[in-house]
């Protein structure tokens, strides 16, 4: 027999530290004492996010959402809610909550709003019928049969949709250019060449809801007068490729792609083009060159692809996330979409939340959400109770956001004003153990590797800056090096041919700006405050704490710790590879890192 109520108690680490365990036990006791064990099941759950308000208790099926619940409230919750069916008002998150309303209605709790990811995790991506049942291809119907091309463009422009690939160009305006361009042939391209380290929203969208991309591209084809579309996707996304191909086959079978779509005189088809995974091929002109079978190298704009793109023909090229927004905008209208977000940036943004965060994941929030809400309410805070240091957005082209900016509403402009950028939506959270020089070196290593080498500022500037950073991380940097870093960064920004080179110095500029003290510590004092740069670290044995248990010597992978049993051990600094295993192993705090 099923239970009448389910009491969910958050047992996430954050809640557990805020007395979640005691609460669970108290509730267990009360259920027994008041004789309603058979009425309600007590369940431990994973973290709900929202940990600042913990411990959190949610009661199903009515979804009452109690916050800051202590063991002392257990008796009341059982006697009032479980037995009498009345909510315990003073514990509710929303004190004005009327009976029967659920946490779905609590704006503050449901920080996420899924437009792009509306079907991800809901439908079976391999059955077109499930997509259709959730209003799939209804926007296409509208566009083909009820709307003029200008109306579609106006709707997108009014909605305020901007390119989600990172640059934020208004999508409606872009389509307008291509529509106006005179040509016997036009193309539609989807940029699924997701290259930022740590970003995977486009892959997940293609895997979870491939038809949303196909539908939007077909809509674009009808609007600008194109009959062929290409999806450029990296070959290392096999599942996304499989599901897209499967979706294309199903759409063709249903007459939603191919000749005379839905019996109209409009024909459109889509093919996949697989990329080899070069980062620069995410840049639109390089991407188009790659589709044409040439080496993926960017060419200067203008002319923009909207006017002169694939094989010299007018081409609409948008990112996966931009495409996935479009059917919903056309179905629900520009006013609905522009009602979400900030003054300059409408709609939502998908972020791939990774790094030192408790609940890493794929999240979608309205533009204007603050970093604090993303990290603490949705992400559940920093792992291991460590201190937040910075969040990196925009990948290798972006910068860091520091604690002082945790409360600015995120949109294209606000991120740019603090020296970062939206980028494609990777968000890497860093804590006190992350060294900014190390992180910057990582990104520069990436861009140096991915630079196509065509222009000197990017090719030489990137490499030189990397070498300087490497020097600094080894404690061999000088103050002049800092100036050189900045000079080269500015030169790259101004003189590089494409976005890759122009933005590659961003991590350098951003970290020098916000963490100059950390650079200076490396240069002047030869220390790494975060304890990350191996060359600046030394592990030593604290003599009066070491009892000679030999645990460190046994775990050392290079056998550089010597000492007799029950006598003080010594680490041979020349042999030490600074792996830190001795520090982890020692039970007596006798190993010092510094």
């Amino acid at each position: 027999m099923a239970y009448k109520n389910y009491i969910l108690v958050c047992a996430g680490t954050a809640c557990e530290s805020s007395k979640g365990v005691a609460l669970y036990e108290a509730l267990e006791k009360e259920l027994k004492a008041q004789g309603v064990e058979a009425e309600a099941q007590l369940v431990k759950t994973g973290c709900f996010g929202f940990c600042e308000q913990g411990p959190i208790v949610k009661i199903l099926p009515d979804e009452s959402f109690y916050v800051k619940v202590g063991p002392e409230h257990a008796a009341q919750i059982v006697s009032e809610h479980i037995i009498k069916g009345r909510q315990v008002k003073e514990l509710l998150y929303d004190k004005d909550q009327t009976a029967g309303s659920s946490s779905d209605d609590i704006g503050f709790y449901q920080k996420q709003q899924r437009i792009v990811l509306r079907n991800c995790g809901v439908i079976n991506p391999e059955y077109i019928d499930e997509y259709i049942a959730r209003d799939g291809y209804a926007a296409l119907e509208k566009v083909v049969f009820d709307m003029s091309a200008d109306e579609v463009i106006k709707e997108l422009t009014d909605a305020g949709l901007r390119g989600r690939g990172g640059a934020g160009f208004p999508t409606g305006v872009k389509w307008g250019f291509t529509k106006k361009a005179q040509s016997d042939q036009k193309y539609i391209v989807c940029n699924a060449d997701e290259g930022d380290p740590g970003a995977y929203m486009d892959r997940s969208t293609c895997e979870g809801d491939p038809h949303s991309v196909l539908e939007a591209m077909t809509i674009a084809g009808h609007t600008v007068g194109a009959n062929q579309g290409f999806i450029y996707i990296r070959a290392e996304y096999p599942l996304a490729i499989e599901r897209l191909n499967n979706a294309i086959d199903q759409a063709r079978e249903y007459g939603l792609l191919g000749d005379n779509i839905l019996g109209s005189d409009f024909s459109f088809d889509i093919e996949l083009r697989l990329g080899a995974g070069a980062f620069v091929c995410g840049e639109e002109t390089a991407l188009l060159a790659s589709i044409e079978g040439k080496r993926g190298m960017p060419i200067p704009r203008p002319p923009f692809p909207a006017v002169k793109g694939l094989w010299g023909k007018p081409t609409v090229i948008n990112n996966v996330e931009t495409w996935a927004n479009i059917p919903m905008i056309l179905l629900k209208g520009a006013a609905w979409f522009s009602g979400i977000g900030t003054e300059t940036t409408k709609g939502t943004k998908v972020f791939a939340l990774t790094g030192k965060i408790n609940n890493s994941g794929l999240i979608e929030v309205p533009m204007g959400t603050t970093l604090r809400e993303i990290i603490y309410d949705i992400g559940g805070g920093i792992r291991g109770g460590k201190k937040f240091k910075a969040a990196q957005t925009g990948g290798p082209s972006g910068g860091v956001i520091t604690e002082e900016f945790l409360d600015i509403p995120i949109d294209y402009e606000s991120l740019q004003s603090i020296g970062s950028m939206m980028g494609s939506g990777g968000m890497i959270v860093m804590d006190e153990d992350d060294c900014m020089i190390d992180v910057t070196k990582f990104y520069l290593d990436f861009t140096v590797d991915e630079s196509c080498g065509k222009c000197a500022p990017c090719r030489i500037g990137g490499r030189t800056n990397y070498n300087i950073l490497d020097k600094i991380s080894k404690g061999q940097g000088s103050l002049e090096d800092l100036d050189t870093l900045k000079t080269l960064a500015l030169a790259m920004r101004k003189a590089s041919l494409c976005g890759l080179g122009q933005t590659a110095p961003n991590p350098v500029m951003s970290t020098i700006h916000y963490f100059e003290d950390e650079y200076l510590a490396h240069i002047n004092d030869g220390t790494c405050p975060a304890g990350k740069c191996k060359d600046l670290l030394a592990y030593t044995v604290v003599e009066d704490k070491c009892i000679g248990c030999t645990a460190c010597a046994r775990v050392c992978p290079v056998n550089c710790i010597s000492g007799e049993v029950k006598s003080v051990h010594v680490i041979d600094q020349d042999q030490c590879i600074k792996c830190g295993q001795c520090l982890t192993k020692c039970k007596f705090d006798a190993i010092l890192k510094g």
Partner: protein, 129 residues
């Protein structure tokens, strides 16, 4: 199905919508929806899938369907699985390995109680309703 006209597409949508609402409302059968994006599969969603099938078979449970879906976004707790049993709240389970999958079948599907320690919350309200 052959190529559709506008009318046929609308008919299909209406009938599928009806099917889905019925499925959520009155249907007696339980449903297990497994998140099978690259992330879920890498974390072991296929093993969980097999364990569900096997455990359902071994208990001769006939009226439960298993389907797949894309990424639910709860990457820190992959593989994720949504379980829908009529008369019970819809819940999402995280960190579902083979062992947990078998527990879900025994405790949730058969005994109609929730499986402790593995419940996570739905990330957001559905905008298509």
């Amino acid at each position: 199905m052959a190529k559709m006209t506008l009318e046929q597409l609308r008919e299909l949508r209406d009938s599928k919508k009806m099917e889905m609402t019925q499925r959520d409302g009155e249907e007696k059968a339980a449903r297990i929806v497994i998140g099978m994006g690259t992330c879920g599969i890498a974390a072991g969603a296929k093993e969980a899938f097999d364990a569900f099938l096997d455990e359902l078979n071994s208990h001769a449970v006939k009226d439960t369907r298993i389907t797949q879906t894309g990424c639910m976004g709860l990457c820190f707790s992959e593989p994720t699985v949504e379980v829908i049993v009529p008369g019970m709240p819809r819940v999402i389970y995280g960190n579902v390995d083979g062992k947990v999958a078998r527990r879900i079948v025994r405790e949730h599907i058969i005994e109609k109680s929730l499986v402790s320690d593995h419940i996570f919350d739905k990330p957001a309200a559905d905008i298509i309703k």
